[in-house]
């Protein structure tokens, strides 16, 4: 049943889910989730440009293109927020739409070009894990491993930086460098994930596991573990199901899986779940009646 290649692809998307669950948690707590969404959409023009300029569709080349426009979009958002009167939400919406629009225009140009028809760049919109080659997977493994290791090394610093930046600066933490490093890692997560999940839904893999984990715990360490596991399961299960039926994009299935975990958390988590809230309410009323 499980061919060798599929097994590797499954492991790859699982690792990707774990990496996204971890970096996603930090960006979620930093209230930067939507910046990740814009950055993911902004990867599309980079992919198309890299292809148009080099004429090649080797993954590392496309990834570099994606990383450049993705990082540029984050920079644009920060620039707009700092130098105009626009608030972050408007800046994010603006940048996301403009970059994605440019991406679609460039993709149309690619598709019209003689080489472009066969390039498979369209798969980057919704993701297609099944198309990943051994070489692609090697890149994914290396990249995801770097993301996970760096996140664990900087755990303590990012925790303090996000929780209390003034104090963090006061004890000599290089705040600006740490922030840049987190942004770089999130862009890296996005770039690593777009082939499997696609630019449109990549941000969901950053946001949903973190949001689910927040409902279960009040500790950052547990939240990271839970979020990593959720992302990993979603990646694994989503890829497996989409591989059973040809034609299904991986991204949407992964996202649906993550969303299911979120919904279960929302209903049944012991701390913030709706069910336990309801039970507490009923118990409280009973006690009131008795007394």
């Amino acid at each position: 049943m499980l061919s060798g290649n599929l097994l590797w692809v499954l492991m790859g998307t699982m690792l990707l889910g774990i990496a996204a669950g971890i970096t996603g948690t930090f960006s979620f707590l930093q209230k930067q989730s939507l910046v990740g969404d814009a950055a993911a959409h902004a990867a599309l023009p980079g992919i198309a440009l890299a292809f148009l300029i080099t004429g090649q569709k080797e993954l590392p080349i496309l990834m570099i293109g994606a990383a450049l426009t993705s990082a540029l979009s984050v920079y644009c958002i920060q620039w707009i927020v700092t130098y105009s009167k626009l608030k972050a939400d408007a800046a994010i919406g603006l940048v996301l739409a403009v970059f994605f629009g440019i991406g679609i225009v460039l993709l149309t140009i690619v598709n019209r070009s003689p080489l472009g028809n066969q390039s498979g760049l369209n798969d980057f919109i919704f993701g297609k894990a099944a198309t990943m080659t051994k070489a692609d997977l090697t890149w994914l493994f290396i990249s995801a491993a770097i993301i996970i290791i760096v996140s664990l090394l900087l755990y303590k610093e990012w925790k303090l930086m996000i929780f209390d930046p003034v104090y963090a600066k006061g004890i000599g933490l290089p705040i600006e460098a740490l922030k840049a490093c987190l942004t770089a890692l999130i862009v890296m997560t996005i770039v690593t994930g777009i082939q499997a999940v696609g630019v449109i839904l990549m941000s969901a893999l950053l946001i949903i596991p973190a949001a689910s984990a927040k409902l279960w715990t009040r500790r950052l360490s547990t939240m990271l573990i839970f979020s990593g596991i959720t992302g990993g399961i979603a990646g694994l299960a989503g890829t497996f199901i989409s591989s059973l039926r040809t034609g299904l994009s991986t991204g949407p299935i992964i996202v649906l899986f993550a969303a299911t975990i979120f919904f279960i958390s929302y209903l049944f988590s012991p701390k913030a779940g709706q069910l336990s809230k309801y039970i507490r309410k009923v118990k409280f009323r009973k006690q009131e009646k008795l007394s």
Binding site: Y167, G170, I171, R218
Partner: protein, 245 residues
């Protein structure tokens, strides 16, 4: 000789955009005092504190703490921020927050040691919050949060402490706990600076007073500085609290 001074500030000015918030502030405070920084709203008290702690890029002037230019690496400075400077929804426990006070002595990427954890627990106990160690920080009351942050500064084992309005939104019992801890620190020879709002308690709590409104207007022993005339000068016509004197 300068090492005898807790804080020396020379010609300190700060501007936000084009507006000057602090102009030419000069101040010399000897070691071992519990000092109140008082002045009307918008006088630049928090700005002064941030400038002293090197948090602001656009400042001019010299600041020395215990005879040295401010350097975060030295860790002689403990800082308790205003409560609204922190993300209360962040998933962390009271103990974790106190443990953050030890991060500075650990360095990048290194985990806190057992000794760090002991110090953090001691600090938490000294503010009477040991039973709340595992509580999520967002579940604590305002006064409890304030005590946790004080414990974090204690865990850092600093020589000079800066507190930004520690009594804001805090009940009388907590205020008493906090001031007792601060007095205890002073008894150990440490220097403490507190941005303070309640003029009624200045004489009771602080042996040193710094009057601030756009610049340092007066500084010295509380009985010499906390006078009707000088307060009038600091607060302008808006002072209703004269009876407190």
């Amino acid at each position: 000789m300068r090492a005898l001074e807790a804080l020396v500030v020379q010609n300190l000015s700060v501007a936000y955009d084009k507006k000057r918030v602090l102009e030419n502030a000069n101040l010399i405070v000897p070691k071992g005092h519990l000092a109140a920084i008082i002045g009307p709203n918008g006088a630049g008290k928090s700005t002064f504190l941030k400038a002293v702690l090197n948090q602001l890029p656009n400042k001019v002037g010299e600041v020395e703490i215990l005879g040295k230019a401010f350097s975060p690496k030295s860790l002689v400075v403990g800082y308790v921020p205003q409560r609204n400077a922190v993300d209360w929804d962040f998933p962390t426990t009271a103990f974790d927050v106190v443990l953050m006070g030890r991060y500075g002595s650990r360095g990048l990427m290194k985990r806190p040691t057992k000794h760090d954890k002991q110090l953090a627990m001691q600090a938490l106990t000294s503010v009477g919050m040991e039973d709340y160690a595992d509580r999520s920080i967002g579940q604590l009351s305002g006064g409890q949060q304030q005590r946790v942050f004080l414990a974090r500064a204690l865990a850092q084992n600093a020589e000079v402490y800066f507190l930004d309005e520690p009594f804001a939104g805090v009940d009388a019992a907590t205020e008493k706990t906090i001031i007792d801890i601060l007095k205890n620190l002073k008894a150990q020879g440490k220097s403490i600076f507190v941005v303070h709002h309640d003029l009624q308690t200045v004489k009771e709590y602080f042996d040193y007073t710094i009057l601030l409104n756009k610049t340092i207007l007066a500084a010295g022993k509380t009985e010499e500085v906390f006078t009707a005339e000088k307060l009038q000068q600091t607060y302008g016509g808006n002072l209703f609290m004269m009876q407190a004197l």
